[in-house]
Symmetry: C2
DNA sequence: AATTATTCTACTACTTCGATAGACATTATA
DNA sequence: TATAATGTCTATCGAAGTAGTAGAATAATT
């Protein structure tokens, strides 16, 4: 499961991306709009800033904006950044690889083979999806819901 | 990521499945063969027994055997049993569904839509794979490695 | 200088994870 | 029937991770 932190990060990014990028967005505005504890959100936005996803402006009329554009921000990247590996076991992870402590031979491990297949399927989806895609999907869902009425 | 507990469970099941099912397999034998702390393994095997996957025999010459056959034991089932939801967020889980605390409308949530796609991909793989499949893969990998030499 | 905001450090409470210890119950066989 | 071997159960532990909070420091604007 994703941590709440990762979920909050994605929700916050979505919110920021949907606003005009002229004025910085306040932490407190995001916090209220998305029901995220403000102080917790602070830490999350800072982390996203350090990772080069957001930029911030201090002081009056300060706040956060995207540094990358929404179609450059990859969902898999954000999840890995906040929560670490996406794979079910570290022995099949790209970015967080660790050898298996129990396995005698990773190359012939059946479990590893299975878990690797899951990882491929997951990362194929996540590394091909951007923040912009997520927002598009939301808009499409809202439209089709409206049409049905 | 899978917990070590889930990984141990799968490794232990694999080991048991590979032995002849005439004699019960000792906890201590599995523990040594698979590098799993014995006392921890005890608790895991008990849980698998309670779930109807294994049967046990107490006393001298006791031990564990499969209760279901290896091609009936579903990998997704084992993982869910030990670790809980496979989905990244509970709002897209079958067995562990919980409404999203922050979302105003789950039906139109872009994040939910994305996460749902990941869940489908993952469960499609895992619910179609059995313990027997995992063992077959291992044997195939070992063979093809042998041929290369 | 005052105000409004982000930034940073530190902390707390809680839960889960991984593992261990020891008493208890059951079974086979000598 | 004694005894050795084995699973069952309860309780506990330390380390790590999760979610969230408090408050001072810093920067930008008016």
């Amino acid at each position: 499961m994703l941590s709440k932190k990762a979920k909050y990060a994605l929700k916050a990014l979505e919110y920021i991306a949907k606003q005009s990028d002229i004025n910085p967005i306040l932490i407190s505005e995001i916090s209220e709009a998305q029901n995220i504890p403000k102080k917790f959100l602070e830490a999350i936005l800072l982390e996203l800033k350090r990772a080069g996803i957001l930029k911030s402006k201090k002081g009056k009329f300060g706040g956060y904006n995207l540094l990358q554009s929404a179609d450059e921000i990859n969902l898999g990247f954000i999840i890995r950044l906040i929560d670490g590996p996406i794979s079910l076991i570290a022995c099949v992870s790209d970015k967080y690889y660790e050898p298996c402590a129990e396995c005698e031979n990773e190359a012939t491990c059946g479990l590893r083979n299975v878990v690797n297949e899951v990882r491929d399927a997951t990362t194929n989806i996540l590394t091909n999806l951007t923040l912009a895609d997520m927002i598009k999907r939301e808009q499409r869902l809202k439209k089709s819901k409206g049409n049905k009425k």
